[in-house]
């Protein structure tokens, strides 16, 4: 059983008014301190490779996305945000997505897709902002998801570092 010991109040405290004045003086002093608010759109949040923003598809240096539509991310996604329809391609990889959609309204930015991808084709970018006028506009297709590899390089290196650390413990 928890017994809460209440503090005996002094007369001044019970009179209340002195305490009121003390409180007022406290808030008054705070009045002149510098705000710590971040003025968001003008001062965006700092992001780095650890930031888990929205997932994006890597465009390799040859201009193609690395994805082979294996569906690993789709099945790993806990939010059922990803829908992929594959198809044949003449490229070496034989298979590529004909439709690759991430419903950003569903995505919970968990990064499972990044972890599941066997082809290093999807990575968490540092893009965090998400707004549109329609729901359909927030279902991102391949074109909206494409990012050049250079834009994601920091994250890619980070993931590799992380995985290597994990591997060396095996």
């Amino acid at each position: 059983m928890v017994v809460v010991q209440r503090k005996e109040l002094t007369l001044a405290e019970r009179l209340y008014l002195p305490e009121v004045l003390r409180g007022l003086s406290l808030t008054f002093r705070k009045f002149f301190e510098k705000p710590i608010t971040r003025q968001y759109p003008e001062q965006p949040l700092p992001t780095d490779e650890v930031t888990r923003g929205q997932p994006r598809l890597v465009v390799k240096d040859d201009g193609n996305i690395a994805c082979v539509s294996c569906g690993m991310c789709e099945i790993a996604c806990p939010a059922y945000a990803i829908t992929i329809d594959g198809g044949e391609t003449d490229r070496m990889i034989e298979r590529e997505p004909k439709k690759f959609e991430i419903d950003m309204l569903r995505c919970i930015l968990c990064g499972f897709c990044e972890e599941a991808c066997p082809k290093d084709a999807i990575f968490m970018s540092n893009e965090l902002e998400l707004a549109d006028y329609t729901r359909a506009g927030l279902v991102y297709d391949i074109e909206k998801l494409k990012r050049p590899k250079s834009a994601l390089q920091k994250r890619i290196d980070y993931v590799y570092r992380l995985n290597n650390r994990w591997r060396s413990k095996q």
Partner: protein
Amino acid sequence: MEDFVKELPVWVLWVAKVAIIFGGLVATAALMSLAERKVSAWMQYRHGPNRVGPFGLLQPLADGIKFIFKEELIPAGANKFLFRLAPALAAIPAMMTIAVIPIGTIQIGETKIPFSIAQVDLGIMYMLALGGLSVYGAILGGWASNSKYSLLGGLRASAQMISYELTLILSILVVVALSGSLDLGAIVEAQRVNGLWNVFTPFGALAFVLFTIASFAETNRHPFDFAECEPELVGGFHTEYSAMRFALFFLGEYCAMTVMACLNTTLFFGGPSVPFWANAPWYVGILAFLIKAGFFLFLFIWVRWTLPRFRFDQLMRLGWKVALPIALANLLVVGAWVAFSTKGS
């Protein structure tokens, strides 16, 4: 200039004064809604509204536009007539009471024009009578909404306002006894002539404290805002209100605050009189009045963002068991003192 003013028909002056004072009151209320947010923000290391206009100064305008364009909802089963009437009942009496506050005197050449809408002998009676009406807004709004939260909020508001009205009146009576008049102008004049504001007399000081506490309760402000009390009652008596009707309740609250601040200034702080400068020019007087009233307005906000809300039983205990006996005793002693001291002289 002086001749021109003298020759103006009387009604032009009235209209001008009404326009200035009411306009000022509404503008003050609007600015207060901004000030409330700004001050609270500064006290909490924040910026407060700063997107609309320079330093967010146009925020009240944006709010007003928003309120006008929002949809008005009337809950099913609400008493439509009373539901519509209540916001007006809350706002109008609060705005009308400003009429008798002597803000100062405008002097053009030798002509002196009292800067208040009406100079009534029974100014205090007028104020108290109208001020008592504002409880109708809360209770009718709460009752007509057909919602349990609103009803509870309305009931609390009325219980609280009636309880603290006693203390309020008793502490005003102390001032009346001290200055011997019910005319607010006379009260101010008495303080100016004595060179001593009522707050600096022992009884006046006590009355001032009681009056301030009661004025917080009367205007439903923190720490006594039980009529709204969001954690328990959603929004209290105005839970079901939206758009302009909701804005009217808001306006009423801020007008009542403004009037209370003016009244406090008038009763205890010598209205427009300036300490140690008995013959200050008229505009300095008006400025002094505004500064004093402004301080009390700031006090309202300051207290709100400092003190936590009472419990309702604590509020009632404070009202009936502490404030009222003290106020009564104070009045008795003052009465006796005044009676005997005048006899003795």
